[in-house]
Amino acid sequence: MFSRISWQSLFSLLIFGFMYLPILVLGVYSVNQSPNSAQWSGFTLDWYIKFFNDSRILSALSDSLTVAFCAVGISAVVGTLMAVGLARYQFPGKNLYQGTAYLPMIIPDIAIAVATLVFLAVIAVPLSLWTIVAAHGVFCLSYVAFVVSTRLVNLNPHLEEAALDLGATPYQALVRVLLPELMPAIVSGCLLAFVLSMDDFLISSFTAGGGATTLPIEIFSRIRTSVRPDINALSIVLMLVSGGAAVLAEVIRDRSEKKRFR
């Protein structure tokens, strides 16, 4: 068994290589002196310096962060409330409500993007950073609510009842009993929504108008025209940031799991 190597493991190794090849290429290019060719011509950090001094990239980054923080902040509250409400009540039209709430996870972005654009045009709201926030809020809401609801399903329903029986007000029961239980799910839902918001190109470009430029819009307009080494540096920085966020999320989740099952 151990002596021979199966073709599956070799094939998997190959696919692993395929998955990491682009990242490796970006990493090597980002410290390559030569701007245009694939030839290695010496180590440099110039592209990183150039990237951190690029005011257009930085302002796009700040627009993206504003959108993501606002959209995620709003949907964290609204989405959690919705997930709790959906788990708790039966009412006519619940299936319709629930189906609509998770719709943004199914239908293609382009369909959502054009619908939002048409709606904003009809009600004559000028496009700005805040229309992006509103549009991103929709899908962020879905993801936060979805992740929270997966947690709600295997939660002990008697905890809250016990709190109420012991004299807590419904508000206290929600904030002191339910919320701490849901917190890991809320955090990971928010991280997911944040990441999706930072990465969204289509919906942003339909709802941005002239004034606002998010990072994906800026990146798209640059890489469409040419290959640019400062984009390599940007990729690596973004990758480290989101990798850090992933690790952070995992640590938070892991820690709270351990607390829960002790």
Binding site: L26, A111, T150, I219, I231, S235, A246, E257
Partner: protein, 343 residues
């Protein structure tokens, strides 16, 4: 940034198959694979009851009988109604108005926009989208199954979570930048051709062709396929394989007659989800395919943000896309898990 949004309808699956014990247990507890999916679209009413979360019995507080549900559900309801439901209805209305431009009065008058879809040019674009989506699905299945099989069945147990995590990790990069990385690999003076030249081989010309789109889309969607297949393969009862071997089946027979039928729901789910995600993909065909490989998403984009906008036609196309995706999801919910095994 992590998982791109266009891949995100698969994220529900990703979450259930997430390599952490509690989420995975949840995954196995759910008898129907279909409940892993986001709930079906609301305009398929008979399917709407499929995804029922276990309801927590309401503990009626004496005073807040109506106030509490309203507080919980109204904010999201208003937001969704304003920015999702009404816009979608508007798109449907617009799709019935021929030749509308921004600012015109909306006056629904027929299906002309839908007939426009039957023009040969448009059909060619739609056919190309279907071709890319179907080809990508096939590639993902071919490449993903051996990997999922290896991780789920052959690799040492303690390495499994780490291996899976390693496989998902590249998704934590921006979808645009992933395509960009492939541009720098595939372009005429890129990594691939430099490598080929140093080996003395003739240069390849892949960028801005269908093959580049396939590479980019397969790269983006493969991890999801692997995750879904892994989740299915891990549930596989090994004793069946042993029994097959004891009864004299060759490994090949055991694979085709035990493993594949047992994992069919997973294969169906992976196939359909990768297909619909590929169908709506904008970034990969746009950046890697160039002008000759425009897909349906780009065509819709042009009707709104292009040089000669036609909102009515764009809306009709968008409705068609939503329709195809909903039919695929409905098929999956109906046939994805015919016989859930209760152990």
């Amino acid at each position: 940034m992590p998982c791109s949004y266009e891949n995100s309808r698969l994220l529900g699956i990703l979450f259930y198959a997430h390599p952490s014990p509690d989420l995975r247990q949840l995954f196995f507890k759910i008898p129907h694979f279909s409940s892993l999916l986001p709930p079906p679209l609301p305009f398929i009413p008979h399917l709407a009851s499929v995804s029922k979360a276990a309801p927590v019995e309401p503990k009626a507080a004496p005073f807040a009988k109506l106030l509490e549900p309203l507080l919980l559900l109204a904010p999201a309801g208003v937001w969704l109604a304003l920015l999702l439901v009404i816009p979608t209805l508007l798109i449907f209305e617009l799709s019935l108005v021929p030749d509308i431009k921004p600012g015109d009065v909306v006056n629904p008058s027929g299906l002309d926009n839908y007939w426009l879809i039957l023009q040969p040019d448009v059909l060619r674009v739609i056919g190309r989208s279907l071709f890319f989506a179907a080809g990508t699905t096939a590639l993902c299945l071919l490449m993903g199954f051996p990997v999922a099989y290896w991780v789920a069945i052959m690799a040492a147990k303690r390495w499994r979570n780490l291996l899976l995590l390693g496989f998902i990790l590249p998704l934590w990069t921006s979808s645009l930048l992933r395509s960009y990385a492939w541009i720098s690999i595939l372009r005429p003076t890129g990594v691939l051709n430099t490598l080929l030249a140093s080996l003395g081989l003739p240069p390849s010309d892949l960028l801005y062709r269908a093959s580049a789109v396939f590479i980019g889309m397969t790269y983006s969607l493969l991890p999801y396929m692997v995750l879904i297949l892994y989740a299915s393969l891990e549930k596989l009862d090994r004793r069946l394989l042993e029994a097959a071997a004891d009864l004299g089946a060759s490994p090949r027979q055991a694979f085709w007659q035990v493993t594949v039928p047992q994992t069919l729901p997973g294969i169906a789910a992976g196939t359909i989800l990768v297909f619909i995600t590929g169908l709506g993909d904008f970034v990969n065909p746009e950046l890697l395919g160039g002008n000759a490989n425009r897909t349906a998403a780009r065509l819709i984009y042009n009707q709104f943000l292009g040089a000669t906008p036609n909102w009515g036609f764009g809306s009709a196309l968008s409705m068609m896309l939503v329709l195809v995706v909903s039919v695929a999801i409905a098929l999956l919910i109906k046939y994805g898990d015919q016989n859930p095994k209760s152990s």
